[in-house]
Amino acid sequence: MADSILIMHCKEGAKRALARMTEEGYKLPARFKTFELPCTGSVNEVLLMENLQNGASGVIVLGCRKENCKHMDGNLRAERKVARIKKMLSEAGVEGRFVEMVFAAPDEGKRLHDTLLRLAHAGHSEGKEK
């Protein structure tokens, strides 16, 4: 699991977005892994931190587009938690690890692919992304 990038995604829009992405022929490098959850709202800071601490070099929380969360605001909650953890990691000077939030819909195969690759690349570079 070391050096892998874990994509935690919901089983609604985000799952379909990934499926659509592969249908359209886009692939991901080996280090990406995926894990399905009922809603990105069920991701909390502990889940994010423990994965990073246990060796993942990055965690991407992939949720539905902002107005599309089946459970109203799960994806927005995830976004806020990711933002807090990002800040903490940055202030603590943690290097070589990142956490990011991505929103996707089932009609955005290329954009999703580009975003995932860009994040993985930026997360691995020396300087902190954004």
Partner: protein
Amino acid sequence: MSDSIVAVICDHQCSSKGPLQAANLTKRLANTTTVDKLIVLDKACQDPEKKLQRVAGKKILFAGCPYLEESGFYTLAAEKLGLKPGEMLVTDIKSSILDLYDDADVIEENLIGRLESLSRLLADSVALKDRPVKLKRSVLIFGSGYSGLKAALELSGGKLSVDLVETEDPPLAPGCLAEGLRSPNLIEELTERVRTSEDVAVFPETAMGPIRSVEQGFTVSFNGGEAREYGSVIFAPERTEAPAEEIGSWNLTQAYKRIHEHQPIKGRIVFVLDRRSETPPEVIQDILTAAKVIKERTNAEVWILLKQLRVALPGLQELYDLTREMGVIFVKYRNLRLQNEFGDFNITGEDPQTGALFRISNPDRVIIPGPGGLGASALKAAETLGLRLLGEQYTQPYSLWRLANESNHPGVLVCGSARGNMDGDGVAADAASMVQALKARMTPEGITPVEHVASVDAEKCVYCLTCVRLCPYHAMVKNIEDRVAQPITTACQGCGICAAECPAEAITLRNLSQESVLAAMQAL
């Protein structure tokens, strides 16, 4: 010791990379502690009954493609093998592994990881043994608009008893007015059918007494008569439109009224969206309908202006397509100014792509949809029914994904207009989805909790009320005697938001505890 786990995997002969190399997988899985046996099905989708004969086990992890899910293969498997939720797990390995990676070694690595990971989850899972909660088979429909009437007709005549509450004559919403142009007598016809139907009892809204909660349902009495019992309610209120805020402009309702009254509409008609706040998707639907109607019936030149920032907007693609087809002029803007000086109307704005300025001089009419909301009687009814409102909008905007859920009266199902737009087709879809959702939940057996239902550890709960406040389904309530939070298990949809937010980590989802999720993630 947990039950043995059998992994059943389709060999994906249809895959562009050719069928799975099962021998390697079997060997590698033999070294794990979690999967006891691997069964490979050749082309699982072909002749599934026969293929499933090879499968047996107490707990089964199925790995296949999305088509297997859609075609009901897994449902068939569950039936044939007598598997309850908690005794099986399904994962799509086609999209998220076989087609996701290039390298064969990487694919194998990930397959092993996925099977190990999910079998860990499955190992700790318990089968669902909950007894279904029975629902009273009677429905109260609030709202005698198009969707209420349609729903009443669809639900009645079977084993469900249907009562309809007739709302007072509300000002018609734009979509209804549009629908009225297509089929002028539609509402009257539907109303007549409902009134004369022996299966639907109709009551005026003014006769509605207070709601009382009973075990597994609620009661309402009309005209002070005997209390009538219900197991569910469909809330199908009218959406009214407030006036447009810009002087001299119309809202949609006014525009339609003119069309209904055969008053002339000509010249240049400009619809302005996002004027003061973001136009909700259902209103964009209404605008499209209105533009279509005006183009069809008049010689007017129709424009639609939309603020530049709206990229991922549901309905936007339709907007582009329709405007092209109909010859409606569609312009995105930045910095729009509407100048209305003594009857001299000018619209100026900037094209966001080029920065070029545009001006529309003296359009004959500017139509700005007004903010929508529920009428006063609908608001009161919602309050009486204990429904959750977002401001004055009913709580289920935008997405048709929302299913029926329970209100705070245990055992009561609530369905409502899923989209809130009042375009005829949209409303028909609403009515149909509400009816479907209701029927899906009111199975003959009753309602059972979802697999990942939440439960609260009473020892850890600090009664901070966080979960009670944020549950999207109002499924968490205060247990006043024990001073802890408690889920209404048939209302819980297993989203896990409560578990994530609980400050005391007192909430777990069944078959998806944080520990097992972490362990499963580690095993990937």
